[in-house]
Amino acid sequence: MLIYTVRRLVSSVLVLLVASFIVFMFAAASYDPLKPLRSRNPPPTPQSLKLAAHQAHLDQPVLTRYWNWLRHMIGWDGSFPFLKLNFGNDVHNASVSHALGMRLEVTTRMIVGAILLAVILAVVLGVISGVRKDKAFDAVATIFTFVLLALPTFWFAAVLKEFAIKINNDVGSRVFFTAGTQSFGAPPPTSFFSVNSDQLQHILLPVVSLGLLTASGWIRYQRASVIDVLDSDYMRLARAKGVRNRTVIRRHGLRNALIPLVTVMAIDIGALFGGAIITEQVYDWHGMGEYLNTAIGNEDTYAVAGWVMVSAVFVVVFNLLADLVYAVLDPRIRLS
């Protein structure tokens, strides 16, 4: 188990390293952080342009810039072994990692909420439809999931928002909160895990819209894997031992049927991150998505590169978690 974990960890770090190189090179080649400055009227003096270029490290060769960026990012600047995750400064000379840290917290709340909702839906609906294959419940769940699967992310989010607004208007009071992470003037959250009813009300719609869309594929997948497992010989042997059908499904069926779902969840984390960007925009959340949009608009090399690295680390970490869960569930992986 330990060797397995270490091996996964090492390969993840290598992948991230290669990704960081590609990302930085791409961002450095395609963005011109001085563009907003140059298009100013009256045009800035050559000196101030030079100063800005120096501030943005544009006067150095690109490989040196990458190395300095990487060095600060992984803490190879004296702070080792403490990772500072310093992604450099953006065009306004503000720390990228500080801004991203706050925004990642906002986005992670939404994603974690959506994952929880999607997992619960996938397991509950997937197992019931798998066990009651071709019965009424299964038929309804299948129609439901196929429709969800076909919905464009932001359209669904916007439709939910419209309905929420309509209900609010009809009731005459704010039942649903359709914009922002919290009410204006409310105290900011003290930590990631602190929740109050105001935040919960705000997070409800984004989590529902992102979670339902994510769940749609997972429900189908869980159903198929439950059907596979129910058909397997070990389920029959367990019943032949004298274990009650219900217990067999719970004890032998569920755990085996969860194994494939975990791998699919890992693959879908990236898609979830993309979906979160769109959902944030619909519900006016000041999260990762907004930052990326602004950074691209500003042609901000360090901000974009830092952003992509954060998203890559996020995906890799969740993949690693999924791999570990996978190994816990399946001894064949753990022990080989």
Partner: protein
């Protein structure tokens, strides 16, 4: 073997006592799908008595596995089951899951065909054995369950049993896994063990040792054994009585010596003559049964074996023959209207009828173009017969 056979005959013929019968299957039918569904089992009856071994033999698709799954109540809900299965007089067909659970694993245990998929890959071997102990003995202590499980593993011949207790199925070979399945089956000293093709999925080299393990389990528990196989060699070595199935029906049943030496159903004759002959030095040719088993969705009229039967006559196409006593022996029954013609012949004499249809020249043509000669003749006669009755 002859000794036990003799004592068995004496015992059963002297008293047909009911308390000796553990399992009685009566006119069992199993159908999958709707009206035009697959009739997998069509009226099978047999009894299993205390301590005896009943062999069930047949080709794949003959319904032998479905029969035993129906007995255990393990068929999917889409299967329609009629008839009766009684365990010590207790009806099992239509029994609720709760009641069946008290019988499965405790009274009747089962060994499945494929050991590679029979064990749950995510639980330890030990846990899978103690699961069956725990279900039926809720008050057994953990230590006792572990002790019993290790003991079971030792009986079926797993070395270092107490170490392997903590292993997962994927760390075991196929033969070893089947021993674990056998250990699970014998855990609660059942009255009947049903072994459904226990060696089919295994290498030939480990088949014998797994059969030894089954024998050990039977000896230890004193259970009756229902051994389902398509391997007549296995039946010959282990069974007291044998039931031959074809197209979802029992076509011959009797003591092992009766069936093996004086088969009275042409299908059994054919099966036995496709075995190599060991009792003579002269080189003999193996004689196969030509053709393939019929589709269970579309059975031929009359005796389902008639398209492949060298003895088939017009009358065979009319009605499905019942299972009747042959040679005047009460316990030997066959489903063939012409079984009298085989009277007094041993299997080799009887087997000569197959030589005619399965000569080397005919064989390839038969496979490609369907049964050429006898079948067409039959079809013609049957159609003309039908015409006659209609007009």
């Amino acid at each position: 073997m002859p000794d036990s056979q003799a004592s068995f005959d004496v015992q059963t013929q002297t008293r047909e006592a009911d308390d000796d019968v553990l399992l009685s299957v009566d006119d069992l039918t199993v159908t999958f799908g709707g009206e035009k569904g697959v009739h997998a089992v069509r009226g099978v009856s047999y009894v299993v008595r205390r301590h005896e071994t009943l062999g069930i033999v047949g080709e794949s698709g003959s319904g032998k596995s479905v029969t035993s799954l129906a007995v255990m109540g393990l068929l999917p809900k889409t299967a329609r089951i009629t008839g009766s299965v009684k365990f010590r007089g207790q009806e099992l067909v239509g029994a609720k899951d709760k009641r069946m659970s008290t019988i499965r694993g405790k009274r009747i245990a089962m060994i499945f065909q494929d050991p590679m998929t029979s064990l749950d890959p995510v639980y330890k071997i030990g846990a899978q054995i103690t699961e069956t102990l725990k279900v039926h003995n809720p008050h057994m202590s953990r230590a006792d369950m572990r002790k019993r499980a290790v003991e079971l593993l030792e009986i079926v011949g797993i070395p270092n049993a107490s170490d392997r207790f903590e292993d997962y199925p994927h760390q075991f070979s196929g033969g070893m896994r089947q021993r674990v399945v056998i250990a699970i089956a014998m855990a609660n000293n059942p009255d009947v063990i049903i072994a459904d093709e226990p060696t089919t999925a295994l290498d030939v080299t480990v088949q014998a040792t797994v059969l030894e393990a089954i024998k050990a389990a039977q000896k230890e528990t004193g259970a009756a054994l229902v051994l389902i196989t398509h391997d007549l060699g296995v039946i010959a070595g282990m069974a007291d009585r044998v039931l031959v199935m074809y197209a979802g029906r029992a076509v011959e049943i009797g003591g092992i010596d009766d069936v093996f030496y004086q088969p009275r159903m042409p299908y059994t004759v054919g099966l036995l003559n496709s075995l190599p002959r060991m009792d003579t030095d002269e080189k003999t040719r193996l004689t196969p049964i030509v053709g393939a088993p019929p589709s269970l969705q579309n059975l031929p009229s009359g005796c389902p074996f008639h398209p492949r039967c060298p003895l088939a006559i017009e009358e065979c196409t009319k009605a499905e023959p019942p299972l009747v006593e042959v040679d005047g022996r009460m316990l030997h029954r066959a489903a063939c209207i012409r079984s009298d013609e085989l009277r007094g012949q041993d299997r080799y004499e009887a087997g000569q009828v197959f030589e005619a249809t399965s000569s080397d020249e005919v064989l390839p043509a038969d496979i490609v173009g369907g049964e050429a000669q006898p079948r067409e003749a039959l079809d013609d006669s049957s159609t003309s017969q039908q015409d006659g009755t209609e007009s």
